[in-house]
Amino acid sequence: MNFDYIDVIQTLIDGILFGSIYALIGLGFTLIFGAMHKLNLAYASSGIAGAYMGLMSLTIVGVPVLMVFIIGPIVAGLISLILYFACFRFMPRGNHLAPLMASIGALFFIDELIIHATAGSPLSFPAILQDSYFIVGEFGIRGDLLMIMGFSLILMVVVMQLLYRTKLGLATRATSQQPVAALLCGIPTHKTNATTFCLAGILGGFAGCLLAASVGILSPLIILPLTIKGLIVTVIGGLGSIRGAIIAGFAVGAAEGIFLLVRGVNERDIYVYLLLFFFLVFRPNGLFGSTINRD
């Protein structure tokens, strides 16, 4: 192993910048989990599907490149809304297995749909700020990653404002804490849940578009790793903790960078996934989870 501290710090910088995508996905999982105490395993796939639709609008209709980053999230939000009605809305409240299983079915449905639509081959995605590169001392910062980071931070602030400053956010938090009590207070819980799904979907769409833009290609192969890493971020951050999900997202990005540097690209994901078991054994409630075991 011959790398010095400059490599390590450079890797950490890239990893943390890239981790903002995981933070966004983790935030979306957390929003959905917070709203219904259920996992939507098809969530990351809806984000990627949104990115595909954005790309389609570019290649088929020929909209300006910037529009891809608007159409993608909107479509992802709609897909997420459809997922809510297909997998969650009409399920019996006490049954945890049925919605989970339905969302797994939806995950593979979207996955297969994308594979069919693109004949299984990856598509090139318009890169943004590809050529910009900032040199800070001995380290370089990729312009596109910096933009992803900035964009994600703006989105996180918007979500936080929505949750803690608006009436909609109040309704969402109330539904999350006590669905029955919220319903009795006149909060339309189903509508609130649908809005949360839509909001999470929009976040996922942004994450999908940003991921594709930074890598330069869009492929159905990224759906499953993105899903698993998003889930790991959610667990490490503490199930249901928004602050935890954001911090854990950056942490997982950094860890991924280090594992890439030390063990290479083929083994990187093994160690990222093992991180989850490390947390399950030593800190099962995550970084910021409540000490009470929540269902």
Binding site: L41, A106, F108, I115, L224, D269, L280, D295
Partner: protein, 305 residues
């Protein structure tokens, strides 16, 4: 004839996979690690017969044992924490196992031929059956003997206290805990048992197809594994078998003419069934409906939750 024997092989192996998920689902837990245990069983028993020249039966047994041991290892941290953690842990475990075998290269020269798992190229030379003069009928016989044995064991479990304990945990954790059941122990036992069954299935799969690679053990395989008992209902092991026959026999084999759209149909089918019959197609109501059709007394009210 070979074609039908081939389908029988697939259905048998997938039934073992489904039964391994069934055992854990009885306790109300959903695991996506079944593909990982299946892969461990397949690779371990394959390595034992190919590299170490073991007989098939000890190889299958050791593969199943190691798969069960890993099931215990995964279940232990994941099941201590309540709720949905198991799904996250098992989906990650499945991918860890797949990526491990994706990277595993262990080539040895045996009788002048280089054999063993060759990372991305897969593990090709699992020719125990052919080398020892087993006909395809014998292989199908062995698979179904083990399938029926496992089904009998699971059926017998339902006749004794253990089955009642498993179902009690699945029906209402709080009530089960109040009556003195150690939830974690029961769940981990079910998880380990499921790992052993999946390991047997994996060993049989490796030896009957003679070639395995990491693509086989993706999360889609784990989804198949849990979808059998969920679609078939948890009323009895027969539901799982029927679901395997329906999905593998009809959707995957019967609809081969529509190509890869079968997997699309599979995803859609799960979403639809979960909405219309959250307890599976063959749930309590289904049996009642059939009894009603036959004009017999129904058991309404005794519905599984």
């Amino acid at each position: 004839m070979t074609y039908f024997l081939g389908i029988l092989q697939t259905i048998g192996v997938h039934t073992l996979l489904g039964l391994s998920a069934y055992l854990l689902l009885l306790t109300g837990q959903l695991s996506l690690a079944q593909a990982g245990f299946f892969a461990i069983g397949a690779y371990v028993s394959g390595i034992l017969t190919v590299i170490f020249g073991l007989h098939i039966f000890p190889a299958l047994a050791i593969g199943a044992f190691i798969a069960g041991f890993f099931a215990f290892l995964v279940g232990f941290p994941a099941l201590r924490v309540k709720g949905l953690m198991l799904v996250v842990a098992t989906i990650a475990f499945s991918e860890i196992v797949r990526l491990f075998f994706f990277n595993l290269s262990w080539r040895v020269i045996i009788n002048g031929i280089e054999v063993g798992p060759d990372s991305t190229q897969g593990f090709r030379e699992i020719r125990y059956f052919a080398a020892n003069g087993w006909e395809q009928v014998d292989i199908v016989g062995l698979i179904w003997f083990l399938v029926i044995a496992v089904m009998l064991v699971l059926w017998w479990l339902d006749q004794v206290r253990a089955g009642a304990v498993l179902r009690a945990v699945g029906a209402d954790e709080l009530a089960a805990q109040s009556s003195g059941i150690n939830l974690t122990r029961v769940k981990i036992a079910a998880m380990t048992g499921g790992g052993v069954i999946a390991g047997i299935g994996g060993g049989l799969f490796a030896h009957s197809t003679t070639y395995i690679d990491h693509h086989t053990f993706v999360v889609l395989l784990a989804t198949f594994a849990v979808s059998y008992p969920i679609l078939g209902g948890l009323r009895s092991v027969v539901g799982t078998l029927l679901a395997v026959i329906f999905i593998q026999g009809f959707i995957i084999e019967g609809l081969r003419f529509i190509g890869d759209y079968r997997y699309l149909i599979f995803g859609l089918l799960i979403v639809l069934v979960m909405n219309l019959r959250p307890h599976g197609i063959i749930d309590g109501h289904f049996l009642d409906d059939i009894k009603k059709l036959l004009g017999r007394k129904t058991m309404r009210g005794k519905v599984d939750d």
